[in-house]
Symmetry: C3
Subunit: 348 residues, 3 copies
C-alpha cells in the first residue's frame, strides 16, 4: 500500500464530499513576528497590543492574511496537488479574529464539478472552512481549481457549477459590535484618512516597491505548510513551464496588502475577499508594486466602522503611478494580481 | 592574554575531561515558528497544542531536532572549532520532551582519544548531554571528530576508543507512559498508517524535493548558535576546499525529517539516533530529496506506541524513486546523508 | 488630498517641533528569536531566562540593538524619507530594559536646523525618544540627517546647531542597582574576562566573518518596520547610486555586536552609543568582520558592574587581524563602520 500522498485526481472528487485536512496548527506570536518580518506590514492593530485593545480586540489579532494562508495551506495536499491551475476565489469571509494560541483546522466540501471537454482535466469547486479550537468558523471561502484526471477512462460526473456571488454583501460582513472605531488614534495609526475621506472611483498609488528573494517566499509558504511543489523544487522546476520556482500567489497578496499601508493605513482589517485573479506568475527577483481603486463604500453593522470595497492591482517591475490595469484584451504588461476585497476602516 | 576563543586542539583534550559549554538557551515559541518555516515540517504533534495534549504531552513539544541542534550547537566552540572532519554520531537518546520556556545547557565529557599516525590530528570522542533548567537530561549522545593538533610536539595520549552500540536498544527508549497512542487522530495527522502497517525491508520514497538557499541554512544554523566558520564566511570559504559556504550537516537531517512526513506522517517523534553519516557536502542551490527503509520494528515500554528503526537516505539533485544508496564502494552519486534512527509511532 | 506619505522635506521641519511617529510595536519572543537567528548573538543575558534573572533582570531582556532598531525604524517615514545622507548619532542612552510584551512608540523633537549653502538641502537634528507602554523612556538618542528641500524657494530657517556631547558621561549611565554582577557565571557566559581584565588601548580582533544575503538584511529591516526604500527596491536601485539595494546601516551594527562576542562575551549590555559613522555602504554578498579598541574604562553607579568605552570597527571582505582603521585621510579600504559605545561588564 502506497504510503506517500499522491493527491486527489479529478475523478476522486464527488459532489458533497467533505474533506477534513491534516495538520491542525496552533498560531503563535512567533508566526506573527515572522510574518511581519517577511512582509513589513505596519497596520497598528496587528502590531501593538494596546492599540488593538483600544479598538476593542481581546489582544493583538493575527494578520487576516496570515490566518488565511494557514487555512488555505492545509487544503493543498488534498485539493490542488494535481492542479493545473488555480482558477479563482469567491465569497471569502473573515468571520472571527484569530489570536496567538488559537489552533486552526480546515475542512473542505466539494460544491461543484465540471469535466473539461478534453477529457483530461476538470474544475473542482470547494468551500473551505477554517475553524478554531472552539469549533468556531474563523474563515470561509470558495475556490475552484483545474485538476488533472488520473484515470482518463473515469466517467465524467454530472456538471454542477455553484452560483457564486460577485461580491460579499457588505450588510453581511462580520464586524464585532465591541469594536469602537472612535478610539482609533490617527497619530499612532499613521494616517488622518478615515472612512468618509475615501470616495468611489478614487485611485491610490501605494508607491513603494519590494523585491522578493527565493528564501523569503519559500520561508513564508512553509510557514503556512503549503506544500505545492512548484514553490520549492528547483531541480524539477528547471525543466518546468517557467524554468524556475513559482512564487505562491498568496505571497503577492500579502505583499500588496503590506504595501497598501501607504494610502490605506487605517483600513485595519480585511473583512472579505470578493474575488482574485493571479494574472501572471511571480518569481524571485521581481519587484512588486501596487495600487488600489475604491469600488464601493458601505456601512457595516457597527456604526463606528465602515467598509471600503477595494480593487488592488499588484505589478512586477512596473511602478503604479499610471495605474496599470486591464486592457480591452488582457492586462497591461507587468500586472500580476487583481484582487477585490472589503476592508474595514473607522468612521471619524 | 588572548580574549578570543581559538578553540581546543587535540592535545588540549584529556580523557574524562568535563566541559560545560557556554550560552544557556531558553527555547521559545518563536524558535519553533522559525524552525517550522525553515523546514516546513507538518507532524501534528509539534504543530498543534490540542493534538499534542490529546496524545498526552503537557503542551506542544519542541521539534526533537531543533532541540538536538541547540544542544549540539553549544559544543562547537569547545569541541570542533579546529575539527577537520565530523566522523560520526552514536547512542543519541531523546530522553525528555523540550517545551517552549525550557532552558537548555550542554556538558560534554571526553570518553576517547586516539592520535592519528600522521601526528597532526587525532580523534576525540565526547558524550554530550543537554539538560533543562531542572537539571534533567533531555538529550544525550556521543560524537567523534577529527581535530587538528596545535602543537605537533605534544605527546600522544593513551589510545582509548569507547565501545559504542550499533544501535540503541529499543527496550531502553524513553517513552513516557502518559502518552496514549490510541488518541492519535489519523485524519488530523494526515495518515492512516500506524505501527503495524510498516514492515521490515519496506522502502518509502518521500517524493518531495526542497531547494536550499544560503539565507535559509545560515539563519537556521545561527538559530542554534552553531558557530562553525565554514557555514557563514564566504570571504574565507571562496579560497577553501569547496570554494563556497558548506551547509551544516544537521540542516540536511532536518530537511530529510520534514520531507519524510510524506510516508511517515504518524512517526511523531524521534526517540534515538543510532548513527549518521554525512556522505557528501551540501551547498546552497542543492535540491534535497529523501527515502527511508524500515530496518526494524519494535515494541516500546508504552503498549500504545511502537518504534520503527528507519534508515533515511537524503540526496541532492537526485529524486529517490530508485532508492539510491550504498554501492559496493561508496555511495551512489548524489547521496548526502545516511541516517539510522528510531521513530515513535502509535499502535492502532 | 494625497493619501500616500511623501515624507517631510527640509522646509517642513521647524525648531522645537514634536513628531509622534506611527505604528506602536509590541515586541515579542518571536521578534527575539528572529533577531537571534539573523545575527547569531550569543550573549547569555539575552539568550537564557535563568541567566538573566540570576543577574537581576525580571526576565530575558530584548537585545538592546533590536530595541534600538525598532525605535529608530518608526522615525524613518517622518524624518528621513527624503534624506540624502545619515550624518551621525550622538548621546544615545539605553535607559530601561525592554521585555517581550512591551509596546514601543517613538517621538522625535527637532533640536537643530541648518540649511546648506547650495540651497537644496539642509541638516535636521532630532532627539528621538522611545517609550514603553507605561510611558517610561527606554531609549533616547540624537541623530542628524541631510534632507532635501521640496520647495527650493522656501526660506532658510535660523541656523541652530545643538551642542552635543562627544561621549555620554559614564557617571550618568543607567545601570539598575538591582543587577548583581557578582552572580555572573563565566562558564555559562563563555568568558573569564571581566571588567578589570580590559585596559585602555587594548585591541581585540573578533576574528569571525559573516556573509550577508539580501533576504537576511531585508527581513531584519522589515522586522523593525524601517521603510527606507533603498533597502528593498531593486527595480529602482538598479538605476540608483550603487546599482543595487543598500543595506540598512544598523544591520552592520548588529552584526558587529554579535561578532564581538568573541572577545567581549561578558560585555552583556550596551548602555550608550556615543557616536557612529557608516564609513562605506554594505551590500548583500559582503562578509563583515570586526575588531574593537578599549577607549576608556569607568565605574558605574552599580558597584558590581563596570563600563567599557569601546570603539568597534567593522569591515567588509577584510579580516581584522591588522586592526584596519582611520588613515590620515579617510579610512582603510574595507572599513564600513566606526562605532563608539559604552558596554556594561561585571566586576569580579
Amino acid at each position: 500500500m502506497n504510503k506517500t500522498n499522491t493527491g486527489n485526481f479529478f475523478e476522486d472528487f464527488s459532489l458533497g464530499q467533505e474533506i477534513r485536512h491534516a495538520t491542525p496548527r496552533t498560531i503563535t506570536q512567533g508566526d506573527a513576528s515572522l510574518y511581519l518580518a517577511l512582509f513589513g506590514s505596519r497596520f497598528a492593530v496587528t502590531c501593538a497590543e494596546p492599540f488593538a485593545q483600544g479598538l476593542g480586540y481581546r489582544t493583538t489579532p493575527i494578520d487576516d492574511l496570515l490566518a488565511f494562508h494557514v487555512v488555505f495551506g492545509k487544503t493543498v495536499p488534498d485539493i490542488s496537488l494535481n492542479a493545473v491551475a488555480n482558477l479563482g476565489y469567491a465569497d471569502c469571509r473573515f468571520v472571527l479574529p484569530v489570536y496567538a494560541g488559537d489552533t486552526l483546522t480546515t475542512t473542505s466540501t466539494v460544491i461543484g464539478l465540471k469535466q473539461n471537454s478534453n477529457g483530461k482535466t476538470g474544475t473542482v469547486y470547494v468551500r473551505s472552512t477554517g475553524t478554531n479550537q472552539n469549533a468556531e468558523i474563523v474563515i470561509d471561502y470558495v475556490r475552484w481549481v483545474m485538476v488533472r484526471k488520473g484515470n482518463l477512462d473515469a466517467p465524467a460526473p454530472d456538471v454542477v457549477v455553484p452560483d457564486l456571488p460577485d461580491r460579499v454583501d457588505p450588510a453581511s460582513l462580520a464586524v464585532d459590535q465591541v469594536l469602537n472605531g472612535g478610539n482609533f488614534d490617527p497619530v499612532l495609526s499613521g494616517s488622518n484618512h478615515f472612512f468618509s475621506d475615501y470616495s468611489v472611483g478614487e485611485k491610490i498609488d501605494h508607491v513603494d516597491g519590494v523585491t522578493i528573494e527565493e528564501a523569503e517566499h519559500m520561508t513564508a509558504t512553509r510557514l503556512y505548510q503549503n506544500t505545492a511543489k512548484v514553490h520549492f523544487n528547483q531541480f524539477s522546476e528547471k525543466d518546468g513551464r517557467f524554468g524556475r520556482r513559482l512564487m505562491y500567489g498568496g505571497h503577492v497578496i500579502s505583499l500588496a496588502r503590506a504595501i497598501s499601508f501607504n494610502g490605506l493605513a487605517n483600513a485595519f482589517s480585511i473583512a472579505a475577499i470578493n474575488g482574485g485573479r493571479h494574472v501572471a506568475p511571480c518569481f524571485a527577483g521581481d519587484t512588486v508594486f501596487a495600487w488600489s481603486e475604491v469600488l464601493e463604500v458601505a456601512d457595516t453593522n457597527n456604526p463606528t466602522i465602515g467598509a471600503l470595497r477595494l480593487r488592488t492591482i499588484a505589478t512586477k517591475d512596473h511602478p503604479c503611478a499610471d495605474f496599470p490595469a486591464e486592457l480591452e484584451k488582457g492586462y497591461e504588461e507587468g500586472v500580476v494580481l487583481d484582487l477585490d476585497y472589503w476592508a474595514l476602516i473607522p468612521k471619524r
